[in-house]
Amino acid sequence: MSDLSQLQPGAYAVICGIDADESLFQRLAALGFRIGKKIEVIRRASFNGPLHVRIGTTDIILRITEARRIQISQQ
């Protein structure tokens, strides 16, 4: 098991855990971060900037700090 920040652009994974406090958890859920969902990393910004990810029909950007909170499994 690894976290979202390690996923390379173009790779898919399935979300299997979210480690966040109540309010962040709610926000992530509303944006589509739910256990069992497929997630794809589209690109990473330069200088260790945010990740651009896609879940279903929603594109989201998030910082690496937040990406570390999302556990994923790649098959």
């Binding site: 309010s23 962040l24 709610q26 926000r27 992530l28 859920a29 509303a30 944006l31 589509g32 739910r34 589209i42 690109r43 990473r44 910004a45 330069s46 200088f47 260790n48 900037g49 945010p50 651009h52 879940i55 279903g56 029909t57 929603t58 594109d59 989201i60 950007i61 998030l62 910082r63 700090t65 937040e66």
Partner: protein, 594 residues
């Protein structure tokens, strides 16, 4: 009176729907969090007058940011007869949760799946009767932007206005309870929505590949900014000169003969005071409108979220984030909505730091002053470059301020943002926004400029036994009194008066100069060009750029931060910074022999 509330996640088209059905002009933009306060309108529905309320977007009913608590506060304190839930149909797989939460409150609701045009394009289809049955509420597909289905949606809303609804007190109770609706949502979506296997929005992906390119992205951003800016300037300047010329002609051929019989002081007040002052400002209307039309297109394109992506790493070093950068860009239009836009931030420190830097972004009112000054003191070739450099100075002061204060306002606010697809505003949306800005300008004009111009006229014409605008008038005395502070930065007595009034609103500055010199248009520019050199002019522009934008901004700073201390900090910091920057510039330029 019956009341309908529009609820939905951010950026789903609530305000677009609101505008369409009520004819109002709430601000619309392809950015989550454009609406941060409520807006009400009345409309005739089924023979009754109904109040419809546009609310900020919310991710869930347990939100914690300031824009979300606006919604919660509203629901807890007002009778709502019907909730119209607006979702982005394509994203129903995650947005349906909000509809389920609202339904759980016991509110009568109808569900609108908006952006049917986009869903259709990507091949997403809905089993509406099935969804309706499982949700036990009417479900309709609409396109608020293009108008499809909106009339039917209103009719449906009218049918449900008489249903029993919970009182605000009930809702307050309900909101304390929490329940999980996830499984329910998944089941409904699975059985009633069909997603095609391939979901890529090809156009958006292709544009993103270029605009978000790892090392081309930022240069492209600045290049685009420069081009847009050139576009506004090239198109707007002739228009501005045309209006100034026409106003001059009108004065010479109509007003002067007309006021011939009136007493001297009266025609002086009317012509040199009000007409010159307002005329000089009014000449900038075309450029300002053009500027806002371009802003509308940028805001509605979805590029703002991309800009946030590109600069977030840099902003993080300054204790800010990508959203703060977007607020700065919005601040280029007007600082007030940009300050209110920071409500989407949850951490108070992050909000305060962002609010501290926003007043430094070069708003359209200041742009007027700079357009005027650069046209006066520089060649047509140099002027756009000088203007662009002022934008760069604006960024520089923002960065400097953030770096200095980030320790004081440090935060660990998470940064998560939706990236909407690229969209293009309809002509109707562009027109609405342009018109709104003209109206905004005219209200400000009637509020500030006339009074300001009158005051300046009085200051420069009393006592009346000395020549107008000479050292013996009140204005002259103020100028002399301020000289020890302003001489070292190259700002003379006349400019000082303009600066004082600029504190109220930057729109007054140019009008004030017209009154102080008793001239307008070309004549004003010529006289000013002989009295000032470019170093003084530049120093004046730097000061104008950095010191307090206007009274409305100060009032907004106080309201949004709920702290007079913070407001004073912002005020004193920008005043001090303005002086230091102008001082360094002026003295260096002089020392170098300019």
């Amino acid at each position: 009176m019956k009341r309908i509330a529009l609820l939905g996640m951010p950026n789903t088209g609530k305000s677009t729907f609101f505008n369409r059905v009520s004819g109002a002009s709430a601000r619309v933009g392809n950015w989550p969090g454009i609406t941060v306060d409520l807006m009400a309108a009345k409309l005739l529905l089924g023979g009754h007058i109904v109040e419809i309320i546009d609310l900020p977007g919310i991710y869930d009913l347990h939100g914690f940011s300031d824009d979300e608590s606006v919604v919660r506060h509203f629901l807890e304190n007002n009778d709502v007869d019907l909730a119209v839930i607006v979702l982005n149909g394509s994203q129903i797989d995650r947005q349906l949760s909000l509809a389920l939460q609202v339904r759980a409150l016991g509110l009568p609701c109808i569900l609108l799946l908006n952006m049917s045009d986009e869903a259709k394009k990507s091949g997403i289809t809905f089993n509406l009767p099935g969804m309706q049955q499982q949700l036990q509420m009417p479900v309709m597909q609409i396109s608020a932007k293009h108008g499809n289905g909106c009339a039917e949606a209103l009719k449906e809303a009218a049918r449900h206005l008489a249903e029993k609804h919970p009182s605000p007190a009930d809702i307050r109770e309900q909101l304390k309870n929490d329940d999980t609706i996830e499984n329910q949502m998944e089941a409904i979506v699975k059985s009633t929505v069909h997603y095609p296997a391939q979901l890529d929005d090809v156009v958006t992906s292709r544009i993103d590949r270029v605009l978000l390119h790892p090392w081309l992205g930022l240069p492209l951003f600045f290049a685009a900014m420069y081009l847009l800016f050139q576009f506004i300037f090239t198109l707007g300047t002739p228009l501005q000169e045309g209006i100034a010329w026409a106003l001059d002609l009108f004065r010479a051929d109509v007003l002067e003969p007309l006021l011939q019989p009136a007493p001297g002081w009266f025609s002086g007040l009317m012509l040199d005071g009000i007409y010159n002052g307002i005329g000089t400002v009014a000449a900038f209307i075309p450029i300002i409108v053009l500027f806002f039309l371009v802003m509308t297109m940028v805001e509605d394109s979805g590029y703002l979220s991309r800009a946030a992506f590109l600069v977030d790493a840099l902003m993080a070093k300054m204790g800010l984030d990508g959203r703060g950068f977007v607020m700065m860009l919005m601040g280029f239009g007007c600082n007030v909505p940009a300050l209110m836009g920071t409500r989407v931030m949850r951490s108070r420190n992050m909000r305060l730091l962002t609010m501290l830097v926003i007043p430094l972004s070069l708003c359209s009112a200041r742009l007027q002053v700079f357009l005027f000054m650069t046209a006066t003191l520089f060649t047509p070739k140099q002027a756009p470059l000088v203007l662009f450099s002022l934008y760069m100075v604006s960024f520089a002061t923002i960065f400097l301020t953030a770096v200095i204060y980030k320790g004081r306002y440090s935060s660990t606010e998470p940064f998560i943002l939706e990236l909407p697809p690229y969209r293009f505003p309809t002509p109707r949306q562009i027109w609405l926004r342009g018109w709104q800005e003209v109206r905004h300008f005219l209200t400000r004009a009637s509020k500030f400029i006339i009074i300001g111009v009158l005051l300046v006229w009085a200051l420069t014409n009393f006592p009346s036994d000395v020549p107008a605008a000479s050292a013996g008038t009140i204005a002259g005395m103020i100028g002399t009194w301020l000289a020890p502070v302003l001489n070292p930065v190259g700002i003379d007595g006349q400019l000082a008066i303009a600066l004082i009034f600029g504190f109220v609103a930057k729109e007054i500055v140019v009008g004030a100069l017209a009154v102080i010199y008793g001239l307008q248009g070309d004549a004003l520019m010529q006289v000013m060009a002989t009295k000032l050199d470019w170093v003084q002019g530049m120093s004046f522009m730097l000061f104008t750029l950095i010191y307090t934008p206007c009274l409305s901004t100060i009032a907004t700073l106080k309201n949004e931060s709920k702290s007079i201390g913070f407001m004073m900090l912002s005020l004193l910091w920008s005043l001090g910074l303005a002086w230091v920057v102008s001082f360094v510039f002026y003295q260096t330029a002089r020392a170098l022999g300019y």
